[in-house]
Symmetry: C2
Subunit: 421 residues, 2 copies
Amino acid sequence: MPLLKSWVASANDASNPFPLNNLPYGVFSTPGSDPRCGVAIGDRILDVQAAEANGLIDLTDVSLFELPFWNDLMEEGPAVWTALRARLTELLAEGSAEQDKVEPLLVPMDEAEMHMPFMVSEFTDFYASRNHATNIGTMFRGKENALPPNWLHIPIGYNGRASTVVVSGTPITRPNGQSKAPDADAPGFGPSKRLDIELEMGAIVGTGNPMGQPITVAQADTMIFGYVLLNDWSARDIQPWEYQPLGPFQAKAFATSISPWIVTRAALEPFRTSTPPREKELLPYLTEPGPMLYDIALTVEMAPQDGEPKVICETNYDQMYYSAAQQLTHHASSGCAMMPGDLLGSGTISGPEKHQFGSLQELTWGGKEPFELGDGQSRTFIEDGDTLTLSGHAQGDGYRVGFGQCTTTILPAVAFPEQGD
Amino acid sequence: MPLLKSWVASANDASNPFPLNNLPYGVFSTPGSDPRCGVAIGDRILDVQAAEANGLIDLTDVSLFELPFWNDLMEEGPAVWTALRARLTELLAEGSAEQDKVEPLLVPMDEAEMHMPFMVSEFTDFYASRNHATNIGTMFRGKENALPPNWLHIPIGYNGRASTVVVSGTPITRPNGQSKAPDADAPGFGPSKRLDIELEMGAIVGTGNPMGQPITVAQADTMIFGYVLLNDWSARDIQPWEYQPLGPFQAKAFATSISPWIVTRAALEPFRTSTPPREKELLPYLTEPGPMLYDIALTVEMAPQDGEPKVICETNYDQMYYSAAQQLTHHASSGCAMMPGDLLGSGTISGPEKHQFGSLQELTWGGKEPFELGDGQSRTFIEDGDTLTLSGHAQGDGYRVGFGQCTTTILPAVAFPEQGD
């Protein structure tokens, strides 16, 4: 597919992440205004709440954009998703008959503050990059037992915490927690000393399944509304002490960050790619009827307080062993009801080479191999004041479908309240 | 505290679970009516939505009972919780000046259908009964390694699935899932053959904490709105294959059942009791400033299809090593935001004796010791058509604060949809 030209000139720039081919969905405010739904086009945001109020968007009997979240659209289902995308394309395409009416509804992106684009119903995090699972497994259990025996059969996942999913730009407070050094007699409690990122993609469930009713991979694919960049913050010193036998808990619960723009499944269609060949044949319920991954280039930058950012990781979403559609199918396989607004983290995305590792745990091999950050600073894990930025885009022929950025600064831990306070 | 007498005669019966001392909160409907909030009193339900509409309850500027859930009251906080309980006690006490106005708002309980009493924000399940953890650990890892090394230091928990928490009376469909016999080459997929219960209490978070701000155990105690009986359905053949390394997922995600009446923390005050002496000193953030468990007698009954129920377990909530207040404090210790409507499962409650074990996994020692159910039937795990019923009450001097029952019938597994469907 070539670049689709828009009358918004900046959208036609080959390096702009938001051409007419993209049309990602976000929630924004401008000084003095309440948050509302918007669509990115070039360096502008189309205020779709206003477009609906003006009658320029009129697809359903009910309002889609009354609330500052995209959940109401999700609940309408794929036919309305398609109709909205077609209508937005019509309004913003070069030669649109309605340019005069739409132009006053555009807001400069650099004057907007971004908010959570949707209400997260529940958050599930997976573990589906083979390189990541092998790296972590090698550090925790040794090279021979790196990959758990179920890994090639199950898209392994665990339930995370929805209440602490926040949008890019929200600072994260360093967590407190229990940890125990291998040679210590007893655990201690205090600020995490091994705060880490996990570079992931987040898939957003747009339509659900009834409780008790499993779904096929093909059905799961059509239920996915779109994707965001996702940073699954992790406290590497809390996790090993707490995670046996029931999995990660407070090491992950304190925060998950996402990028502000939902890139729809429709926008990513030209970038579909297949999961790798199976080493072990999958059970039939997990087999993919077609390519269900996407070719999305991903980077992580790290900057010390008042310092310059440095790229510390370059990888691609095509490195996953399981697609989001497979993960969603497995998630519902027991009869678990999935809901509009559920967020599925892909799992950390690591390529085979060291500069392609999606976490500091891997990049510094458990903190043993520090890297240079410039200004004479080096890092193993994250220090207070550091800023981490995820970026991602799919590369088309002369255009990009971009996700924008997910950027976060770390604040110092809070003092724990005294008993009796 | 003695029995508080009500002008609703049935409430003064020593065996009735809902005396004036209790006043639990539920959501009910009668034939032809929408679900609405109600308070149990003897064999009647007070329609509090109607009481608010009539001006008999007028505590806040906003409506508390517009929606058929108790979340709006929770969000008002402990002062309003106390005021409502005082007003309900005034309206329903023997000698009430307003008996004539209240009497028309009472509905016979046996004509009512019960619904979910609150919207579950997120569900977390803990693992806090020492007997249960020791039993399960012995079966999975042997007697010497039964209790994980962190168990005496951390109220271990994992995030569960809120979308499948259902009220007593809702049938549960047997889950499908992956499992692998120890001697098999590869896993298979199909209906669980080891479907089990877990007898638990559920604590409902009434007020939350801001993200990034931990809480003390004393604060956590005041944030708890009330308690329900909770059955954490478990597929024992799915769990051992899937749970390494990230914890239980589809083995638990298909369903969790709760009893319909929220027994408030206020109603349980006279029944406070302490957690047992610590074998290892707890870190200061987890120490309890006073008794935070409750003396609540619990039973499980099992009935085959068209058969008589048999009591298979008798235990008590006082068997827990950690209280819900400790669990909530640990849950927020990393800065995890807890929300009104969050549900915390206590973990399976098992006493030291075999008839006090709160799961079939323990009662039949992993399926090796079947028990008789009457009519010549025996069981290791649950069969289709079986009905499981949890009951619970705190015993006062001449009265009971009862939870009612949590009763569920198991339906056969569904056929998995064909790929391409």
